[in-house]
Amino acid sequence: MKFNYKKQLAAAFMTAVLAAPLMATTVATANNNASGSPEEQADITNWIANTPQQVSNNMAMQHIDMNNLNGTRYIIQWGDTLSSISAATGISVAKLCYDNNIQNANLIYAGDVLILNRDGDVPAGYVPNVNPYAVAQTKVTINNGPQNVKITVMPQKVVKTYNKYVDNSTTNNDNSTTNNAFTAPNDSSSSTTEGNGDQSDNSSEGSSEAKTSTKNTTTSSHSKKHSSSVTASDLVSGLEGAQDSDSKLSFEEGDGGDDAELVSVDSKAILKDAKKGDYDAALEEIEKGLGDKADKDATVYIELDDGDLSVYVSTNDDDSSSEDSNKDDDDNDSSSQDQDQDNDDDSNNQATNDNQDTDTNDDDNDF
């Protein structure tokens, strides 16, 4: 009896082990309607706009009666565009957008359900703000192997556009810098409800949010990787990103005026670290130069003139702020607000554009 129990337990265990991959696949498939392995999803054929004939074939595969499109559900396939779906079904792009609440977005997603409805009209004046030629996107980031890859051979004509796109897709979130250029919009996966007709509205909001966030741009990890020179703006944002959340230091460009005093630092080492993108080491060097002031509520000014780095520091003499933790919190909040304002500041954006130009030239050399 005891032997049988052990045998049954072993059999159950073995079954679980064997069935686990199958179950995992089923769960993954349920979560991601866009079919295929990452290799297949990344294949170039999925990113070429389908012809109306291909869309018709896809609809036939889904047993859709093209003569009776009355609230019919169609699962969007790789390569589909609103334009090709419209041409295949005879339903206008505006009607498709209206029925599926697709607004303010250029994206439809492979695996989502599109309601096809020939009946009914679009209200007068309804003009969807979409690019009907945009190929269906993915909600799940396609990744195989390394998280970041480098394309070494690139058509010269697209180098500038590529750099601009990558730079504009970089956001600074608190202490980290993230690049959304090659990441599926995060919000869309949680905001989409399949087949209820308004999924595209939610996902469109998600994607428009993602696009809005890309506008708050300062520097990019890409530019750091490829750039042979670092700007003061790069240093400031890199150092801000590298410091701990409880650090009282803040960083700004410039010489800080009369109140700031020069800090003795190993500027060559800092620049070298910054070029490598190692801002932790650069911050360490600066904190070494600051000494005791590194623990105080101070503003560090970074000035970069013809490749010469100068670091200044200005301490805030308000002692009460260091004693009163609530006051500290307020200070931190206000400094983070300042950072946000800096991100929106046109002059800062202009600086980013300048960086892009420099990087582009650098990349031109690379290629």
Partner: protein, 154 residues
């Protein structure tokens, strides 16, 4: 016995030189092969095709699922431009071939997606790629170690 050994070594060296030479030639000739030709690309899964017409000069390429469009683009320079422009709504395609790499780029709405085919061997009317590196706008990036094939159809 010594003579036999020499013959064997000579044969091995000759084989290595022939195959090595062929490999070096095949792995560095993609840039010479593609301009002005139409290729049929077979997907990783093997069940999808795309057609690519490479411009005779410049870095433009028509990438389409339609064979007739791809062949039309290869008729003349003006036909190429007609097809290229008519397809540009759904993205402008460019390419760069260098050494053993062939990269195709798609630019749409200011976003660039890239597929770089690595370890490309180009021989006769066939191009074989051992893997590809991709960066797809708002979709993902990575390296796929799956072989893909291009077959010249014109």
């Amino acid at each position: 016995m010594q003579k036999k050994n020499k013959i064997i070594i000579s044969v091995i060296v000759a084989i290595v030189v022939i195959f090595g030479g062929f490999y070096i030639y095949a792995s560095h000739s993609v840039a010479r092969h593609v301009p002005g030709h139409v290729y049929q690309y077979t997907s990783v899964s093997g069940n999808q095709n795309a057609y690519m017409t490479f411009a005779k000069s410049g870095d433009e390429v028509v990438v389409t699922p339609s064979k007739s469009k791809a062949l039309k683009a290869n008729n003349s320079d003006s036909d190429f431009q007609d097809v290229y422009q008519s397809n540009s709504n759904s993205g402008k395609w460019n390419y760069e071939a260098k050494g053993s790499r062939l990269t195709l780029s798609k630019t749409q709405d200011g976003k660039v997606s890239l597929w770089q085919y690595n370890h490309v061997l180009s021989y006769g009317k066939k191009i074989h790629s051992g893997s590809f590196t991709y960066q797809i706008a708002n979709a993902g990036q990575g390296v796929d170690h799956k072989a893909t094939n291009f077959k010249q159809i014109r």
